[in-house]
């Protein structure tokens, strides 16, 4: 028998990181066993690309820009926000299956369950964004700046996806089951994505909606990413976007951890 003494260790940062990595690995394994989850996460954005590029695109005027170049940053944002719903669903499933109850009885770091989940969703977002870039190039998207700015744009988008995962983690922890988690998350993400500059310039919206659209994170991030891939002044856009992302992670990260400690 392993003497009990040897295992009695304090939860240091090192253990928290290790526990988080273990849970990340578990969630990634789950993802590779259910590749349909990744496929579903990409079908919707691909449909939106086709719809907005070929169906509505002709009717949407954007000043001084090819619509397809305007569109793709919006599509990436849509893909990561919709993808973050699976964070809510995954956590709700783990709660329902009793797995989280078991985790809570283990000497692991409590935050590791949430960090491991959002980490895995970040990895999934890398795949989704890469795929959506390929789709973008196939339908005529062209980066107007240099490779470095393009890379920065994609990283910003991934960071935004990560922050959204924390938002939806709170939904997942509050929902009694996966279906409710999904149903509760849907209107939030729909409002965030559609009442934003993702698909059309906000100037075309009625005044009250424009006020909302101009002051919400999807618009902030999409505008910053557009500035990075289309050219023009970038600094203030990127600063605003990063501020939103950091703020969201801090606020919703705290909410999620507090909630996780309380759920029974």
């Amino acid at each position: 028998m392993v003497p009990a003494r040897a295992r009695v260790r304090r939860l240091t940062l090192g253990w928290t990181v290790r526990d988080s990595l273990t849970v990340t690995k578990r969630n990634l394994l789950t993802l590779t066993r259910n590749p349909e989850l990744v496929v579903f996460a990409t079908i919707q954005p691909v449909l939106f690309v086709l719809m907005f590029r070929y169906v509505f695109g002709g009717a949407i005027q954007v000043p001084g820009e090819d619509y397809v170049n305007f569109l793709m940053p919006g599509i990436w944002a849509q893909a990561v926000v919709f993808g973050a719903v699976s964070t809510a669903v995954g956590l709700a499933e783990d709660l329902q299956s009793g797995l989280i109850e078991r985790f809570r009885s283990l000497p692991m770091a409590p935050s590791a369950v949430l960090v491991g989940r959002t980490n895995a969703d970040l990895v999934r977002d890398v795949f989704v964004i890469a795929l959506m870039c390929v789709v973008g190039f196939l339908v005529g998207f062209r980066n107007q700046t240099d490779a470095l700015a393009f890379l920065a744009a994609l990283l910003l988008m991934l960071a935004f996806g990560y922050s959204m995962a924390w938002v939806f983690a709170v939904f997942g922890l509050r929902a009694p089951n996966a279906e409710t988690a999904q149903a509760a998350a849907f209107p939030v993400m729909a409002v965030l994505v559609f009442a934003s500059s993702a698909f059309v310039p906000t100037e075309t919206m009625p005044g009250w909606l424009q006020v909302f659209a101009d002051h919400q994170p999807v618009t902030a991030v999409v505008d910053a990413v557009r500035a990075l891939v289309l050219g023009g002044p970038t600094a203030s856009y990127v600063v605003t976007a990063v501020a939103w992302i950091v703020g969201i992670v801090v606020v919703f990260g705290t909410l999620a951890v507090v909630r996780y400690r309380r759920v029974t």
Partner: protein
């Protein structure tokens, strides 16, 4: 709280009595101590002042009907839920203030198998090893060892979603043992298993206990409590209604049971009228059968048989048996289990 003394009578404060006995043997404190815990969900009092203790290396069976509060008690003791009031400790560590250290020494297999369906059996055990802070190599070797021990070595590389209910249960129990906990909590470990798998699991549990593990087991199967538990705590509606060994609980009822089946409902009815004054009639679900609880001792059996003889009512079958835990349970809670 009331409970049983050795001779089957009642004694108030028997927890102290038991403690005294323990103190006489040694000064080792109980592995699990529960002192007046309560937990309320809205209007429902899931636990309402429950106290008991489990001596090191022994098995406590927590027995109760649906909704009695068994799972709530297990949750509080495994630190996943906080009591509204009262204190509980495991190995002398308070489950509330010292939760992190309690978690180092306990293992939990909850009421529903909590394993990751998408992972393989061996990946599930590896994950548990890592999360209980075993090294990579220790996690892997422990996983292999447990798969063999639970007869899952052939299925170790298959996703759990392909497992049968019994295999899932065994994996769930294995997952609770990865870090060799010295106190184990099993919440209805054999519910939903066929008799063979159940006996298999009993054997494994028996080995663990032989190795010195302290076990708290909840169950709805009296046979299981009878067979595995050193002591039994019966709870109902959040309160302890009896406590003692299986033999003590059976003795508490203080009766013998006479069971008879008659050729037709009419003679059964006649017998019922005749025997009613001699004891307590129960269990007349089938019109031709009767079951009579009488005071223990040959006199009451002779009286009953004599009464039937005089009235010339001859049963098809006639049996006398000692009470089972099921009878105890029925008597205590007014309902049957299983």
């Amino acid at each position: 709280m009331e409970c049983m003394t050795e001779n089957g009578g009642y004694a108030a404060g028997c927890r102290e009595n038991r403690r005294d006995r323990a103190t006489m043997q040694s000064v080792i404190p109980d592995a699990i101590e529960v002192d007046d815990i309560a937990k309320q969900f809205g209007e429902v009092r899931a636990l309402d002042g429950v106290s008991f203790g489990v001596a090191r290396g022994t098995v406590l069976g927590l027995l109760g009907p649906n909704g009695a509060g068994k799972t709530t008690a297990v949750r509080i003791l495994t630190t996943t839920m906080r009591p509204d009031r009262g204190r509980a400790s495991v190995l002398g560590l308070d489950v509330d203030h010292d939760a992190q250290r309690v978690r180092e020494s306990i293992g939990l297999a909850g009421q529903y198998a909590a394993v990751d369906e998408s992972l393989t059996g061996s990946e599930n055990l590896w994950m548990m090893g890592r999360l209980t802070h075993l090294s990579q190599s220790a996690s892997r070797s422990r996983s292999k060892e447990l798969l063999v021990r639970f007869g899952l070595d052939d299925a170790g590389d298959r996703q759990v979603k392909t497992y049968s209910g019994g295999m899932r249960r065994r994996l769930d129990l294995a997952a609770a043992l990865v870090h060799r906990p010295s106190v184990l909590f099993l919440d209805e470990p054999t519910t939903g298993l066929d008799p063979r798998s159940r006996r298999g699991l009993w054997d494994v549990i028996g080995e663990l206990v032989a190795d010195g593990t302290t076990l708290l087991l909840t169950t709805q199967y009296l046979e299981e409590a009878d067979r595995l538990a050193d002591r039994i705590v019966v709870i109902d509606q959040g309160q302890v209604i009896a406590e003692g060994t299986s033999a003590q609980l059976k003795a508490r009822i203080g009766t013998t049971i006479i069971e008879a089946v008659f050729a037709d409902p009419a003679s059964a009815e006649g017998a019922r009228t005749l025997l009613a004054p001699l004891g307590e009639l129960t269990d007349a679900d089938d019109g031709r059968a009767l079951s009579l609880q009488v005071n223990t001792g040959p006199r009451s059996i002779m009286d009953a048989v004599g009464a039937l003889e005089r009235a010339a009512i001859e049963p098809l079958t006639l049996a006398v048996r000692e009470p089972t835990l099921d009878d105890v349970f029925l008597r205590l809670t007014g309902q049957r289990v299983e």
